[in-house]
């Protein structure tokens, strides 16, 4: 049994093998693997006995369930109105400058992926971003350099 297969089996044991278990299982795989490969989606379909197309259809609906290979740290910069007014672009430039990647790309070492996302619900502390589940607010290019350097050593 491949590691992903056993991960999926464990998740199915925990959440059940019903259609309602699909989202928690998908989230569990993403938590570990950072994305859903075709292989893992087929395996999930097999495990809870639904068509693979249904798994794919559901997964691609949700923006936090990536189906493209992602880095270990997924940076999601909020691009909605308040953050965009309060200097989101400078924040993005700073990240792109440090990591040498564009939006939607992953660094060659597979460490970072950079994405934009819709409102994070942190408008009063704009601009804001998420790195995996961690929240960073009141961002400035200087702050970005500190945070990212920190992650570079992780």
């Amino acid at each position: 049994m491949s590691p992903i297969q056993s991960l999926i089996k464990d998740l199915a044991d925990q959440y059940g093998r019903k259609r309602e278990s699909l989202l928690p299982i998908l989230q569990g795989v993403v938590e570990q693997e950072k994305y859903l490969s075709e292989y893992s989606m087929v395996e999930i379909a097999r495990e809870i006995d639904i068509p693979a197309a249904e798994v794919y259809g559901t997964a691609t609906f949700y923006s936090f369930l990536e189906v493209k290979k992602m880095g270990r740290f997924i940076i999601r910069v909020c691009k909605t109105i308040t953050c965009s007014m309060k200097g989101k672009s400078q924040v993005l430039f700073a990240i792109q400058d440090m990591l040498k990647i564009k939006i939607g790309e992953t660094t060659a070492d597979g460490r970072f992926s950079l994405l934009e996302t819709n409102c994070l619900g942190l408008c009063h502390k704009a601009p804001a971003m998420l790195i995996n589940n961690e929240v960073y607010t009141d961002l400035t290019p200087e702050k970005i350099r500190e945070i990212i350097s920190d992650y570079m050593t992780k």
Binding site: K18, P24, T58, S63, F64, T82, C123, N133
Partner: protein
Amino acid sequence: MATTYQLKRADFVFKNENDWEQVLSSIIRRSPQELINELISSELKGRGGAGFPTGLKWKITSELKADQKYVICNADEGEPGTFKDREILQRVPYKVLTAMAACGYVIGSNEGYIYLRGEYKFLEPELLKVIDEFEYFCKEINLDFKVKIFMGSGAYICGEETALFESMEGKRGEPRNKPPYPSTFGYMGKPTVINNVETLAHAFTIFKYGAKKFYDLGVQYSRGTKLFSVSGDTPKPGIYELELGMSLQDFVYEFGDGDTKAVQVGGASGFLVPRKKFADTAIGYQGKLTGISLPTGGSMMLFNSSRSMFNVLDNYLEFFREESCGQCTPCRVGCQQLLIGIKAVKRGERPATYLDKLLRLTETMQYTAKCGLGQSVANSFSSIVENFREEMIY
């Protein structure tokens, strides 16, 4: 016609009260009918933005017979400019849980869910601890009620109640046709009460202090207080609890930076109010007798004169285009065409009169889209285009 209400601050929701155990114990000593009457007489309306009377919601579901019913707390707070629910779950989660248990007791349900948006995953560990403690106490007082957290995964549309059920059932978060409404046919097809986080927090206040205390605040048709998420061009962004019915003029006087050009009330799906209409606009639910009354889920975004309204609208439309679930054509195609359309007008590829065509398109969306997302695009689009037409063109 200007309203005469001043800004009235209140402090109920975030008041730290460590007596939820007593409140819950006293709730289950009362009859469900009494609790429903209490809620109905408080005139509490849904604080997510739609404003359905909460007491009525509970009443309808309580009268139905079913082998299983559900209580769901909608914490899929995705409207741009709204961030109050996160704060409630962070600071006073036990109020929400108490109100959920009260709802379970009233309608006859022993299962509650909190649908927490994926962006708030960081709240989960702390929340689980509180739930543990809470369930332990429920057991102590022989109240059969369990709460589970269901995580979302980054989809604005899942805040729409029926889309939320679909999502919990492991499907794409596509809204269902209504009716049937959640009260009769909700999660797993069972009668379900679904309330916004803030609504539940207010229900706690009402059960603790009585309906009158709540009813005495606010104005006719818009009773009680509301949390406002204030952001944008303001010297003091943050969350404020205010009585409903205030005039936007008073609001801007308090929160503006002296150069406020317009305020977006109710997030991207709400209305943009230009300065000349501040005095005539009140914040509350529909049905007020004087002037215009705008409902809001609490999002108040201020824009000063340095902001281009074209950029604002462009940002909203980009948001809607991405978050439209794609299920119904008016919304899926409409959002795309609106975005393409305003860009074409801006670049001069289309005449200014093309804006009127786009306005008619939003009208069509308002009538034909399946759910609130597609229907409400018209709100911000028409209020921005009509009030700042020149900024769309030049």
